[in-house]
């Protein structure tokens, strides 16, 4: 049940909630996307974005532009906004905001470890890391040969340390171990974030529980589909599913034994919120599944702004910006490859 957030929230969180609601108003609209989808070149996209909040970040970029450059600069804007909110936040909002970045940290750790395994230069890998997931000793990851060393040398002093207890082994790192490590870490992170939000209580707990449960369910579906035809056993697959969400535990049991996309569909259609998602797909098709999930996620994230005095708006804003950056990436790639007819395959309108 909700507490009396309305009485006390604005003391510490009022300013930042106003800031984030102002940022939300700056998200691109359907009209902006329509203009962007009609661009003939990346310079046209830059010209259209110059009239938005991304203008200052792109104005100094020389031609010819590349799609990755547009994505990098748009990400820098998100990073600046996040850092401003973090430095203004007090507890427990500052911890909540830090939790949002742990997912990026996990991705960066896996990127560095995988790249090192493939004998890539560390500097080159650091340039590809997400800025929100950077930490001080990240470059030292290249030294580790197995997960035990990874933990002992580097990660013990990072916020990811508690998530390593389930996957510490002395086995040398290889592609399969790294993938299992990635998913195990992310599972532990989601469960920890879920418990933290439950501890906060009130509107934050209710809204974040819904959003994180959806995230856990989507990950379960993606893990299932991506592991079809691979060497990942059913037991290993089941271990990667989170211990919460609408699909926990019976849906997970059924997903663990699925061998094709149609079996996944038959499992998911038993749950009404996901029935609507899978009804948009034809049998045997999984190409549009990502877009269907993103659309559902955007709908839930926008609903988070309908309520006040909770931390869910910060999480929702970060995720909506990520979706916007994904949209811009897709539009840029379609324009660069002269495939504008396919631009609406993956663009998800936010408003």
């Amino acid at each position: 049940m909700y507490g009396f957030e309305a009485l006390t929230f604005n003391i510490h969180g009022g300013y930042l909630e106003a800031i984030v609601r102002g940022h939300r108003a700056g998200l691109l609209t359907a009209a902006d996307y329509n203009n962007l989808c009609q661009c003939e070149s990346l310079d046209d996209i830059k010209m259209h974005l110059s009239a938005t909040e991304y203008g200052p970040y792109l104005q100094n970029e020389p031609s010819p532009l590349h799609a990755t450059t547009i994505v990098e600069k748009c990400t820098l804007k998100l990073v600046d906004e996040y850092k401003h909110m973090l430095c203004q936040a007090t507890e427990p909002l500052s911890t909540f905001l830090e939790y949002i970045t742990y997912g990026y940290m996990i991705d960066n750790v896996v990127l560095i470890v995988t790249g090192t395994l493939h004998e890539r230069d560390v500097q080159e890998l650091l340039e590809k890391c997400h800025p929100l997931g950077m930490f001080d000793s990240i470059a030292t990851l290249a030294v580790a040969q197995n997960m035990r060393e990874l933990y002992r040398l580097v990660l013990v002093d990072t916020p990811l340390a508690p998530y390593f207890s389930e996957c510490i082994t002395s086995e040398d790192l290889d592609d399969m171990n790294i993938e299992i490590m990635r998913n195990t870490l992310y599972k532990a992170y989601l469960e920890d974030f879920y418990k933290f939000c439950q501890k906060l209580g009130g509107a934050t707990a209710e809204i974040m529980s819904d959003l994180l449960a959806f995230e856990a369910d989507r990950r379960a579906v993606n893990i299932t589909i991506n592991s079809i035809g691979t060497e990942l056993t059913r037991d290993d697959r089941r271990k990667l599913y989170s211990s919460f969400g609408l699909l926990y535990p019976y849906g997970h049991e059924e997903l663990a034994v699925c061998e094709d996309i149609d079996q996944v569909r038959s499992v998911m259609e038993q749950y009404p919120p996901y029935q609507a998602i899978f009804s948009k797909l034809s049998y045997g098709e999984s190409q549009m599944l990502d877009k269907a999930f993103y659309e559902e996620e955007v709908k839930r994230l926008c609903l988070a702004f309908e309520q006040q005095f909770h931390f869910g708006v910060f999480f929702a804003y970060m995720r909506l910006r990520e979706q916007e950056i994904r949209n811009l990436m897709w539009i840029s790639e379609c324009v660069a490859q002269n495939q504008k007819s396919r631009v609406h395959d993956s663009v998800v309108f936010i408003f």
Binding site: T114, K128, M176, E179, N226, G229, Q287, D290, E333, Q337
Partner: protein
């Protein structure tokens, strides 16, 4: 009278000679026409081969262009789905490893004895099957002795041979699938189906490139032959 007879006889003989000459000329003309008719099929054959190869070449180039466009878009779609940190060039493996696909160039002689290059692609050849070439090559080797025995063996043995062929093809398919997953593992073990689709597109494009190379070799060989014939006709 005798003179007149002689003159008439001379005239007759001259006329006869003239007629003979005309007949000889007609015969020569007819022989020439027959000779020309005898040469036409060869000229047409090489010219037709050249034009046919050119048509194939253009169609294959167009097909390659569309396959590559599709592949690049599928790769972008995979990057959109999995995230830029999971699908990027910085993850490609720089360690020494055997090539999963190799190209062999041989010199073949066509009907007119002209040598031309022939390209053969061996896809997904694992290190264990190095001597046998690709898994597909291994399947070919398994098939041929069974085909030779087919005419001799009784009917009851045929279903066993068929099931063994199916079993062999399934084994090859599994090996190919494993090799495909192994090459994608640089991006992680659990990759999106979109990335696998992109891989198939680029694999098809590679096969198409080899087909184009063979067609081009045939095209150039046919062109050389047509050119030789034209130069021979001028001489």
């Amino acid at each position: 009278m005798a003179v007149k007879e002689e003159d008439s006889h001379t005239q007759c003989s001259e006329a006869g000679e003239y007629e003979e000459e005309e007949e000889e000329e007609e015969n020569d003309t007819q022989n020439g026409e027959q000779n020309e008719k005898r040469h036409h099929p060869l000229d047409d054959r090489h010219a037709l081969q050249f034009l046919d190869s050119l048509d194939d070449y253009l169609i294959q180039m167009d097909s390659l262009s569309s396959i590559l466009r599709q592949g690049w878009l599928e790769l972008a779609s995979a990057r959109h789905s999995m995230g830029a940190s999971r699908v990027n060039g910085a993850l490609l493996d720089l360690k020494f490893h055997n090539a999963s696909t190799s190209l062999r160039v041989t010199q073949d002689d066509d009907d007119s004895g002209v040598g031309k290059a022939h390209f053969t692609l061996s896809k997904w050849a694992s290190s264990g099957n190095g001597e046998n070439g690709s898994g597909e090559g291994k399947l070919r080797e398994d098939k041929s002795p069974q085909l030779r025995h087919r005419s001799i063996s009784p009917l009851s043995e045929t279903p066993e041979k068929t099931s063994s062929q199916i079993g062999a093809s399934l084994i090859v398919d599994e090996q190919v699938q494993k090799e495909r997953l192994k090459s994608l593992s640089v991006f992680g073990t659990l990759v999106s189906p979109k990335l696998r689709t992109a891989q198939l597109s680029f694999e098809t494009a590679l096969g198409k490139l080899v087909e184009i190379a063979n067609t081009r070799s045939t095209l150039l060989s046919a062109f050389d032959q047509v050119k030789e014939e034209i130069e021979g006709t001028k001489d």
